[in-house]
Symmetry: C2
Subunit: 668 residues, 2 copies
Amino acid sequence: MTTPMRQMMANAIRFLSADAVEAAGSGHPGLPMGAADIATVLFTRFLTFDPTRPDWPDRDRFVFSAGHGSMLLYSLLYLLGYRDIGIDEIKRFRQIGSKTAGHPEYGHAAGIETTTGPLGQGAGNAVGMALAERILNAKFGDDVVDHYTYALVGDGCLMEGISQEAIALAGHLKLSKLIFLWDDNGITIDGKVSLADSTNQRERFEACGWQALACDGHDHEAIAAAIETAKASDRPTLIAAKTTIGFGAPNKSGTEKAHGSPLGAEELAAAREALDWPHPPFDIPSEILDQWRLAGLRSSVRRKAWEARFAEVDAETRGEFERRMRGDLPSGFTQALHRFKRRMNEERPKIATRKASEMALEEINAIVSETIGGSADLTGSNNTRTSQTLPITAGDYTGRYVHYGIREHGMAAAMNGMALHGGMIPYSGTFLAFSDYCRPALRLAALMGIRVVHVMTHDSIGLGEDGPTHQPVEQLAALRAIPNMLVFRPADAVETAECWQLALQNRAAPSILALSRQALPTLRLDEHDENRSARGAYEIDPASGEARVTIYATGSEVEIAIEARRQLERAGIPTRVVSVPSFELFRRQTAEYRRALIGDTSIKIAVEAGIRQGWDELIGREGHFVGMNGFGASGPASELYRHFGITAEAVVAAVMERLAGEDAAARA
Amino acid sequence: MTTPMRQMMANAIRFLSADAVEAAGSGHPGLPMGAADIATVLFTRFLTFDPTRPDWPDRDRFVFSAGHGSMLLYSLLYLLGYRDIGIDEIKRFRQIGSKTAGHPEYGHAAGIETTTGPLGQGAGNAVGMALAERILNAKFGDDVVDHYTYALVGDGCLMEGISQEAIALAGHLKLSKLIFLWDDNGITIDGKVSLADSTNQRERFEACGWQALACDGHDHEAIAAAIETAKASDRPTLIAAKTTIGFGAPNKSGTEKAHGSPLGAEELAAAREALDWPHPPFDIPSEILDQWRLAGLRSSVRRKAWEARFAEVDAETRGEFERRMRGDLPSGFTQALHRFKRRMNEERPKIATRKASEMALEEINAIVSETIGGSADLTGSNNTRTSQTLPITAGDYTGRYVHYGIREHGMAAAMNGMALHGGMIPYSGTFLAFSDYCRPALRLAALMGIRVVHVMTHDSIGLGEDGPTHQPVEQLAALRAIPNMLVFRPADAVETAECWQLALQNRAAPSILALSRQALPTLRLDEHDENRSARGAYEIDPASGEARVTIYATGSEVEIAIEARRQLERAGIPTRVVSVPSFELFRRQTAEYRRALIGDTSIKIAVEAGIRQGWDELIGREGHFVGMNGFGASGPASELYRHFGITAEAVVAAVMERLAGEDAAARA
């Protein structure tokens, strides 16, 4: 292949991208035009993939962290012959229902490995994918899993704090098959990077245990040489590829004007002139398209070789690998959890739900070999480690536990990458209050609909003396607000096991298990295998007669609700208690179920050691809420519950007051 | 002073801390014992402060970023004679109502410069304080403002991504009077730092433009020499002070066992033995206490010298400095906003509220000289820059605008530090969707009750083609969930000016202005100066007769509500429209106002291009909600509104359906 053809191949990306942005009337031409050479070299000379089998498990992963330049990726997918992206999709860039959204959306088209756009997230995803590759390699061997992870990152990705968490983790774990291609164009939205940053990125990466290289991002041979060096390293590698944003646009290139708006007809025409590209929009000359398609075809050779190798692997290993990549849970999973629930029924332990979670995990991890645990440096507090999960260390990836360090955000983004890679179910832990630190990554998990499980303990003022900075108050509401996020708050050991089961069975949603620090009695004494938490809300304790009062509660406050019921029943007031382990699953029930469960008692009270927001859905505006009105305080947990009036006595008093009101109204 | 006395002074910190943790039955003895020498050197030989005037404006700032070691700070404040922390408060460590909470809480006691605990936040605050110092120095001169900012940071602070954003910004801006003292003890909760991190922190800081030093953190002279070198630098400085966690505890020091639990009676006794500290708990021998108190007294000399200098400054400058430090707004502020509102009334522009915000800011910044603007690299999109706000650059701090870079989290934490320092009102900008990135810092602003203003634009699917990653859906609910957070969503230029006024007048709460990307008509045509948004919710458009329908809306959807009302009124259905710029302020109104405003129309409809959560507070469970049920999509804004059914027609259709239901019920 001659150099001019490679240039023309890169120019095909440039004009597909710039023309699509122009047609859409919005978008980012600068990055695709600047990084077209990097992408051309990577995809035609290095990346192992197959457009005809985009989900082939041992493909290299390409993460497009600088997602605003999405047309670069769409152009590549079209040029290489990925079936989901025809020229019509390129023309429909940024239109409702198209596969070519403003930012790459996972699930819209094969070849989009992750949703990006919020900066730095792709960097974190790539670390997770590279880690997943090593873990699966350690389990299944080089013949089955042995590939690279490439991420194209921009200046914004590197400025975001999440990038530091990601690269420090990757450097620590020596993920040598991870390669960052930094589109080092020196331009951000506000202008030159030098307006806001003077970091020596190469030295920074080296300080974090990376190899750092630099090259001219428009010199194909220099790019290729850098990638070769990167592939040979025993450390992850940053390649700082110096580029000109909007390369080819004679007046706007090298400036922020090329970043985030169409070039305009005039500048686009001038770019056609400058790059000698006389072809009309969306029309790629067949000799250039043929070369791209050939690169796509060539790539399938490696896939076929892998299939031949894989066919030689023993049947059991093959079956296990395929099961894990499909995301199916192993047989025996449900039975193990039933056994566990029955045992809890018998033993009726009084334990924190974080402890119950550890006990349930001990059973789960024994059967579900694909769980990969971890914690953001709170292992002993989150109870996320079990006897099966030995630590993963640099160079030895046979373990099943990641010490993520004090990096909640990087952890959550890496977990997303692990889930996206496939073959594993990552779960991890931090305090519920620190869900705020990883919220952008949690949101992306929900948007992508992927299975990651976050154990979030110390889920209320019940954590006690650490005080308001560590006491979640609004976090339950804030997490329930995220669409497609399963927020579970189990009340006892039985519900904890049920919520774990639901978290693992729901393939298309991330889950959060909000767990108590403090010990809670076993409340679920019914001895059957039905997963009652699957309803989202259910009657855990019925009224003795026709109910006059319903108390709704979650987690540690269900105990309070049941105690309040006891006192009310003793006073002759029939009272039912509803446990609400998951608002999201409750909303998915039939209207009949929901209506019946909410019921029609005139008095409705909710008890949760968080804010009221969201609870009116169950108790209505007129309902009474026993919970928090503001931030918590530092003090012993039991004193805090009294201090903030979250007690059975407060519930009973509220009921009595309302009953008195009703009686007075009836007499009047 | 002999070395033994200094050691004894440090040991006083160690035992006050360990004994208080022991008495509380929980807490973190390891850090205070490990960092006692650093603190002793800093407070007795370097820090400029005055226990008798803890709020003296030109004091050095000491930020205790590793807040879990709070007893170190409380011990210092007690030993130095700060009036708020007597020995009784030390004994009441971690009890409800004490000033000595589990983590340092701003406002509990003078001398606590910021609330810390969530790791890395203090590092960000310190950068903001150091920046504030330089900005005020540039304005008021060396005689008025000229001090250092010290932050004690731990391994956790440095692992959190926010630290990268903070140090990169500080390095870029060459904040040479900022000094980080890193308690380099190599231990975190899970065990050795080496379990999770291999970063060469000194090289990392150097890559970010810092000077990096190292010293033995138990050698007083070495610590002092490092601080001297740091003070002389033209760059910010990291001092890696190698320490032993739990120094003095013979069996637990140097391990995670000393980190987060009481030492236990036996180990504490052994530590007394090892450090030759025979004194009973909370009993500091008078010769040691006297030395500490003397250090406190000595420090007041510098305060008095400053007061003498300050008295020489011209009266106008002095008055302005004092006004700014008090946090009072300048006279003329209210009038300027009234003028602006009247102008909007006359001109009735159709503009985006982000544009209206820029116009209001142009008036505000002309009068309120203490506003310091900025953006996380979205200046042109957030419209946060006005003619008065020239950029602040390394070495020239006369400007009023910070290019924060793509660092939402570091930005918000720095803004907190600027507000805490005093003398300025920081405001800044990003997209509303990226409020998630800075949420931990937003929460701390709310918890501390400080005045920072976040302009968050592109506040709905109205941002259009960038798609779901950039479209906030749950963010309004999630931000409203934070206690003491003022979330404003103005409907037009008039409300935007009113919300800016409220944000600036509310000294004890942070504000978020959620602003539209798309143009909106001027809806508020009443010509009076009352700030109607101050009610949180008010009737913007009354019904023509006795109302049958109420439509509640915020921001860009008020236009839709008013159009729906027009159609309904035309159909003979009296309809009122309520604008809800702030849920939080509405909640602060009297019960009468709230009841009357919500009203008793049987049909209540809310319109907001976000999720329903929280709206039942106004419309009840039976109310109808026109908004989002899940994530957004990529496409032109107007098409998205139709696609998701957020239109006047959808509102009218919902009303008609309900009216038909009511009529049928009435006939039956």
